[in-house]
Symmetry: C3
Subunit: 275 residues, 3 copies
Amino acid sequence: MRTPGMCLDAVRANSPLIHCITNYVTVNDVANVILACGASPIMSDDVGEVEEITSICSGLCINIGTLNVRTIESMKAAGVKAESLGHPILLDPVGAGASSLRTNTALDLMETIRFDAIRGNMSEIKTLIVGSGTTKGVDADAADAVTEETLDGAVHFLKEAAGRMHTILAVTGAIDLVTDGMVCYVIRNGCPEMGHITGTGCQLSGMMTAFLAANEEQKLQAAAAAVAAMGLAGETGRAHLAACEGNATLRNRIIDAVSLMDGQVLDAGARIEQI
Amino acid sequence: MRTPGMCLDAVRANSPLIHCITNYVTVNDVANVILACGASPIMSDDVGEVEEITSICSGLCINIGTLNVRTIESMKAAGVKAESLGHPILLDPVGAGASSLRTNTALDLMETIRFDAIRGNMSEIKTLIVGSGTTKGVDADAADAVTEETLDGAVHFLKEAAGRMHTILAVTGAIDLVTDGMVCYVIRNGCPEMGHITGTGCQLSGMMTAFLAANEEQKLQAAAAAVAAMGLAGETGRAHLAACEGNATLRNRIIDAVSLMDGQVLDAGARIEQI
Amino acid sequence: MRTPGMCLDAVRANSPLIHCITNYVTVNDVANVILACGASPIMSDDVGEVEEITSICSGLCINIGTLNVRTIESMKAAGVKAESLGHPILLDPVGAGASSLRTNTALDLMETIRFDAIRGNMSEIKTLIVGSGTTKGVDADAADAVTEETLDGAVHFLKEAAGRMHTILAVTGAIDLVTDGMVCYVIRNGCPEMGHITGTGCQLSGMMTAFLAANEEQKLQAAAAAVAAMGLAGETGRAHLAACEGNATLRNRIIDAVSLMDGQVLDAGARIEQI
């Protein structure tokens, strides 16, 4: 079984090309973190080219953060094509629960496309599983937080859903959970400050797609490795902040840390527990 | 009456969710500065969801920086809904005067929606008031600059217009003016280098919307507080620049400074005069 | 003949307004680097205003990085207008060869508009010249790399094509080539790490448009100067990286270096050979 570090090394060795249909808020960070972990991004959302673009790629990341009628069609076309080619496909249901358009689009995409992984915060994922959540915009509602107290219940809830949905569910927050329905990884990397900058979730989705594409035989381990890598980058980035440095510098330091990370560093820093 | 620092502390205490329909050039910085001041951003511009999204928010920021036919409809729909709910609404008329589409869209929005505040540079605001200005793209024309010499005339001009338009006008430049028609605040924070990075105006508009949402009883003070906070962050950011650091690092340091600022720091650094 | 430094100083002296129709991935960096070199950017892509916007500008940069059916029409309208006004126009054919839409759009734009310069990696430019290339997404294929071994052939190939196409071709990679068909400049500034962050090519295209607009009498020299300036900024940025700093900080340091660069620094650091 591949360690997290081996999963990262595989990304750097294979340098998979990742097709992203993603929001315009965090798209630059997503591109840069995909490059930082050793893969290559291509952003493309016109329905006239997404099938062709996804065909030359090794993975597809669909993020509905600033969805619109035009790009929703592109997401579907790209997803159907990528699935037909056997490429790993990831859904980031940003803001599911915050509007009917977002919830319905996410559900519609899940009916049309077989996602290898769905990554979001607990409120978003709950919305997709039970049809309702208490999303606060694009952030998880405090009531949905996974804590040491609610951990067992959350693991049970997600394992059951992942098994039923035949996908990997990756729920990130103070404690991160990654499960395929049989195994659940509990990951305790990261720092609270990551929630105060935009895009760490989107970045993780992009990077996770690269990890899936470079580790197709061990997707669950790859997804967990990406979560640990992002969290570890947050810890490293935070450790290097000077007194005058805050949110924006942390944002940069996280991508810096990913770009400087190798397998050995990730294996030493990953805090992953299997339950 | 709330001090600037009290206004900032109210943002951190209430953490209002701010709906932004904004340009794709500076959107990431806008999201990050809204988070940095203690609020939460959600970017959404599809007409199929903007009413629902704005309903779960506490304020709406409309920025026409990269407007298009699709998003103009969304701006109107969101604005009408937000107004019906009594949410503070801010307009940033980026580039008004640079094209008929921008000027007419801004004027049209002002006829359709009752804005609590309009923030721009003097050329943009002049265009909206007198129907013409000498905009140099998205930057103010030098002829429109508010200086110590032109200050009295500018204050008179803006107070009259704000009173007639029943809105707060916030004009930023070397000297910043914020007026509701009765009172005018003259703010002397900031540094010239802020004009050499893109997005400090857009960021201020996003942050000002958060200040308005968290201080609904004292909107004029809240608007002035946001202006002072942005300017102070520019001063702080500039003070921390090393010799090899220029525009891009300053951009980051400004957001850093906002994220590290508290009410006490803002009250100590704000240079606001009432006339 | 103007030195690279004189070309840069002309940008700072004239501060040309540059109209960009560019992708949403790197648009913020493009705006910031245009400001950093002393010019002013305006991003505008709605067909209802692009002709008017480009009329108040001094140069037009068209970048197809995230093209869509709506913006393709805007690119054409803006280009035709800018050409009628004699403004320098640059094409950045991002991802030409990666999809038919990109290749055909680039070729179609080249038939409709007379570009003063076309800047891309070798795979993109080859696609435009011979109708096919081996593009790896938005990055050049390794087989297309310009090395000391392939330099003579590449120079010959590009000179012939530039002469036939009546445009300046600027091909960037480990070794950069800029030719108008008669003269070819070989530029050896830059560092490999620039290829690991997104947007250095897009930024160069924006900055090159500013250089062309401020040096209309010596466009070939201006294009080469922009290439050298970007490369030198990369070298300077890399030299200032601390041990904990990686991709994201390098991205910032490059724009920092441009903002701090003057003509003297550029002339001292530019490594341009004419062949």
